[in-house]
């Protein structure tokens, strides 16, 4: 019975199936919202799923110059990593499959997913992909600094009850919020979650920050040569990453929500995911044109990092 329950958690809810479903719905809704903002009708909400199916049915083409094994294999590794990353995040206060989780592990697993995309692009040996991967890496450096500040601020605040005075464990962070109220409403952490809202779109590579995949400039950059099933895997990775980031936000800042009814909790967290998606992805997507690579870097290392640092100092001083 225990085994079946764990299998259910891993495979169905809040595991694989749920992650994929949520990812697709989030991306579909995001596209729809952006379309409405631009006065278009927009694609159906499950368009990402159609895209995925269509990619799966297409022939996979490998460039002559590519390193075949790595080129074909790495998208699946990336998909596997992002699917397992989601299991580290406590969803709506539910018990984790791994028992424990850690913000630094999540940070590095998210990095690993981007690295998979970079290695895949490099293995295709296309010059477009070469430009794309360099931009992906610069984007990664850009959001890493504010992300680190946010993580440290949350770790410090949640560690007030513990012996060490800090904790990177996401389970502890959620438990602390359950007793002391969500960080979302905590005055010292307001700059931290504002900065986190900026980190999310860059981490996922959504529109104003999608320098790595700029379709119109560098032919989708990292994905330039991909087709067929590997491309489908990358598309799905993108969707799941969207869900992982929004639910990470929910766990880090809205972990204190507890109505006593599990179903209601889940629904509220799903709502939070959609709200985060709307604020941090759909709005800038609809409002801004794509940044240049060095603009992304400067924006994140000055403005966003500044907000995040203010948050860290506020928490440090104990406001």
């Amino acid at each position: 019975m225990q085994v079946l329950l764990v299998a259910f958690h891993i495979l169905v809810f809040p595991g694989l199936l749920f992650e994929i479903l949520m990812g697709i719905l989030l991306l579909g809704t995001c596209n729809k919202l952006v379309a409405r903002m631009q006065n278009r009708v927009g694609p159906p909400i499950i368009q990402p799923w159609y895209d995925f199916l269509k990619c799966c049915g297409k022939e996979t083409i490998v460039p002559r110059a590519a390193n075949r094994n790595i080129y074909l294999g790495i998208p699946y590794v990336g998909l596997g990593i992002i699917l397992s990353t989601a299991l580290f995040i406590p969803f709506a206060g539910m018990k984790l499959v791994f028992g424990q989780s850690d913000l630094i592990v999540i940070l590095y697993l998210l990095t690993f997913v981007s690295v998979c995309m970079i290695i895949g692009a490099a293995a295709s040996s296309s010059p477009w992909a070469g430009v794309g991967l360099s931009r992906e890496m610069v984007a990664m450096i850009s959001y890493e600094l504010p992300f680190v500040f946010v993580i440290l601020a949350v770790a410090r605040e949640a560690g007030r009850g513990t012996e060490a005075g800090m904790t990177f464990s996401l389970a502890d962070i959620v438990a602390y919020q359950q007793t002391n109220g969500s960080f979302f409403l905590h005055p010292a952490l307001i700059p931290a979650w504002i900065a986190m809202l900026f980190v999310i779109p860059c981490e996922i590579g959504m529109h104003p920050f999608d320098v790595a995949e700029a379709e119109t400039e560098i032919c989708e950059g990292t994905l330039a040569e991909y087709s067929g099933k590997p491309l489908a895997a990358f598309k799905l990775t993108h969707c799941v990453k969207l869900f992982v980031m929004t639910s990470l936000f929910a766990a880090m800042f809205c972990g204190g929500i507890n109505t006593g009814i599990p179903v209601l909790n889940v629904l509220i967290v799903i709502l939070i995911c959609f709200a985060v998606m709307f604020v941090s992805m759909a709005l800038p997507h609809g409002a801004c044109a794509r940044f240049k690579t060095e603009q992304v870097f400067r924006f994140y290392w000055t403005f966003v990092s500044g907000i995040a640092l203010v948050g860290l100092i506020l928490v440090w001083c104990g406001f």
Partner: protein, 693 residues
């Protein structure tokens, strides 16, 4: 303790030196005999060190050996002592493992050089000196070993004299290294003048009661001496020059072991001799040096065009991590530092050997020229990716486990001491990690992936004999990453405890209760909690299951396609085969029948219409490549369009151009400047020590 065990360390050291002298005598006679001799001289010490693991690491004994049986009389140590506690053994294991791997690699890697008997003589002397340094219980002996080490490494750096910059690298190392040696000698002399002894245990017992201006100055001199040996900022330029021009097997020794000896010295001085690591001013000084080196060198590595030079800067950056963690003065911090020191040998050694393999196969290390070697050297590429993932700290490789500990330790230290400075250290470490990743993305793109430069068309995979030592390191990288709790329990934990429990060390050497007489309290053995929040094995299992499932689903293909011919016809009928796909691309299944291979007479037959869709040769009639079918720029002339290493991170470099041009001035390549930095660092540390310590 059995009597045999206490002889192991000295036998190990003697084996290295004996091997060196024997090879100098008879190495010229027979190549096979020489190699066998080298193999024996590196294997015996490794085995002896491994045999010491059980008594020293597990049972917590301290192996003492007095040369010529000059045991101390009434706690006054006159003879030369060899004393191996868990800390010494930990570094001894690092030395012997590195020597073993490096010698194994040299057998093939160095076969294009001549006068190899000199190489092996110097190499074994270097290994012996390094081992002696870690096992010695005598401050002056440590200095002697450091001198042997410096002189042999200078000769080995310049071993390939015809290499561009080899002599220069050796000379710089000698000049700046001698500053470090002088500092050490002065520091030792001052300590001796104050305490009238050179034995480590005796110094440790007497120093805490004898802190005055002279011993504090001695502390500063010793500190700067070991910082030079660890090549921290501002001594890093010489290290980069030396590691670039040395043979790859020697670069491994410099980056993996010689810098570690500086780390070992720092830990011994701060934790055991002066026992002042708990003082906030010392912590701030040492972690500051570590974090500065960590960040500056990782950004310098960003800009390099030479594979080995890039790795060299990363060595110092990683040693910066080690020092930043060890300087925190907490048990967790020291554990993290030692763990990272071990990991650094494993992954950086692996990367240097990969660089050596690329150099061996392609003849160059220029990141702007290389590219696309993964098709020519797939096995080296796989090994490189393991090393790169480890150094970038991607889970579940070993770099992640130790970096995780470093972040945890530095942030915890910041919170417990209420000092924001340590949080800054934590942030610097985290950011350096992503920059490390970026520069290894650069290496993988510009050496192994990307387009193949036509001049490396006939590059071949390196021989298996060179890949075996690389595999040893790669497997160790994965194992130490997967079992962090076991590593901490059996390897780094005892070593860190040995460094902290100086009382036990003194008692073993000078008799029971000596430490208590001098008022040195014995510390309780610190238990480090597990890295419980991260269990790499279960995650890896899950990842494997998920990935396999995903792959299985993707492999179940369209069942209609049975044979290649049918599949081709099927695709054609569906219109799936585009104009270019016949030639510009291969289909995912197997290679499509190439029309190119059809006999040329086919085209000459009367009535044969050359249809690009059906016949689709990529060659024009004149035998040149038809630009229409070029892979990436269809319709244009094919060109070599690799994004070179220097241009890869333009968006980042552009924003940091002022920073980079500032540091460019620092790395002038003039040895006078480097000496000046050394003197300035010495002046700074002296002033700081006198004012604050």
């Amino acid at each position: 303790m059995s009597a045999a065990v206490s002889n192991f360390p000295i036998i190990a050291i003697i084996t290295f030196f004996l091997g060196a002298f024997l090879i100098a005598l008879i190495g010229r006679l027979n190549k096979v005999l020489r190699n066998v001799l080298v193999f024996i001289s590196v294997t015996v010490p490794l085995v002896l060190m491994c045999l010491l693991i059980k008594p020293v690491m597990t049972d917590g004994q301290i192996v003492a050996y007095w040369m010529g049986n000059w045991a101390p009389v009434s706690d006054w140590a006159i003879g030369i002592g060899i004393e191996v506690d868990a800390l010494g053994l930990f570094f001894g294991l690092i030395v012997t493992l590195a020597a073993f791997v490096s010698a194994l690699y040299s057998f093939t890697y160095m076969n294009r050089d001549d006068s190899l008997e000199n190489y092996y003589t110097l190499f074994l002397m270097l290994s012996g000196a390094l081992l002696g340094l870690t096992q010695s219980g005598d401050l002056f002996n440590i200095f002697v070993m450091i001198e042997i080490m410096t002189m042999t490494i200078v000769a080995l750096t310049a071993f390939r004299v015809d290499y561009d910059g080899a002599l220069e690298g050796g000379l710089k190392y000698m000049v700046v290294g001698s500053i470090g040696s002088t500092c050490l000698l002065v520091g030792i002399a001052m300590t001796y003048r104050q305490l009238h002894t050179l034995n480590l245990a005796q110094i440790a017992s007497k120093l805490p009661g004898n802190m005055n201006a002279v011993t504090i100055a001695a502390f500063a001199f010793l500190l700067v001496g070991f910082i030079t040996k660890a090549s921290l900022f501002p001594f890093h330029p010489i290290e980069a020059d030396a590691q670039t021009v040395a043979p790859a097997s020697i670069s491994l020794m410099i980056s993996g072991v010689i810098t570690k000896c500086g780390v070992y010295g720092l830990i011994r001085v701060c934790y055991n001799l002066f026992q002042n690591i708990d003082a906030p001013s010392v912590e701030i000084l040492i972690t500051g040096f570590g974090a500065l080196s960590c960040f500056i060198c990782v950004t310098m590595a960003f800009n390099q065009h030479n594979f080995k030079r890039l790795l060299a800067f990363h060595s110092i950056s990683q040693v910066g991590y080690v020092i930043a963690a060890a300087g925190l003065g907490t048990a967790l911090g020291l554990n993290a530092g030692l763990y990272h020191a071990m990991n650094h040998l494993l992954f950086k050694g692996l990367l240097f050997l990969c660089a050596g393999a690329v150099e061996y196969a392609a003849g160059t290390l220029d990141l702007d020229r290389l590219g696309g070697l993964s098709k020519k050297m797939p096995k080296t590429c796989a090994l490189f990716l393991i090393g790169a993932a480890s150094i970038s700290g991607l889970p579940p490789f070993n770099g992640f486990a130790s970096k995780w500990l470093i972040y945890q330790a530095s942030f915890e230290k910041g919170v417990s001491s209420g000092n924001f400075y340590f949080v800054v250290i934590c942030v610097i470490c985290l950011i350096s990690s992503v920059l490390t990743l970026a520069s290894f993305v650069k290496v993988s793109q510009s050496v192994f992936f990307g387009q193949l430069n036509p001049e490396f068309e006939d590059t071949k995979e390196v021989p298996a004999a060179m890949r075996i030592p690389m595999w040893i390191l790669a497997v160790l990288c994965i194992v130490t990453g997967l079992f962090p709790n076991q590593v901490m329990k059996y390897v780094t934990g005892p070593a860190a405890n040995a460094a902290i429990n100086v009382g036990t060390y003194i008692d073993t050497m000078l008799g029971q209760n000596t430490a208590a007489e001098y008022g040195i309290a014995s510390q309780a053995t610190t238990e480090i909690g597990k890295i419980g929040i991260w269990s790499p094995v279960s995650w890896l299992l899950l990842l494997l299951i998920i990935t396999c499932a995903v792959c299985l689903v993707s492999v179940i293909e369209d069942p209609k396609k049975t044979t290649e011919e049918e599949r081709f016809e099927y695709n054609k009928s569906k219109g799936r085969i585009a104009k270019f796909s016949r030639d510009g691309f291969k289909a995912a299944g197997k290679e499509l029948p190439e029309a190119e291979n059809a006999p040329a007479e086919e085209y000459d037959k009367p009535g044969h219409h050359r249809n690009p869709v059906l016949s689709g040769s990529t060659m024009t009639f004149t035998g040149e490549r038809d630009p229409k079918y070029e892979v990436f720029f269809s319709g244009e002339m094919p060109e070599y369009s690799q994004v070179g290493g220097s241009d890869l991170f333009w968006g980042f470099k552009h924003s940091w151009r002022r920073y980079f041009s500032y540091w460019r001035k620092w790395h002038s390549g003039i040895v006078n400047d480097y000496v000046l930095y050394g003197v300035a660092a010495l002046a700074f540390v002296l002033l700081y020590a006198v004012l604050f310590v």
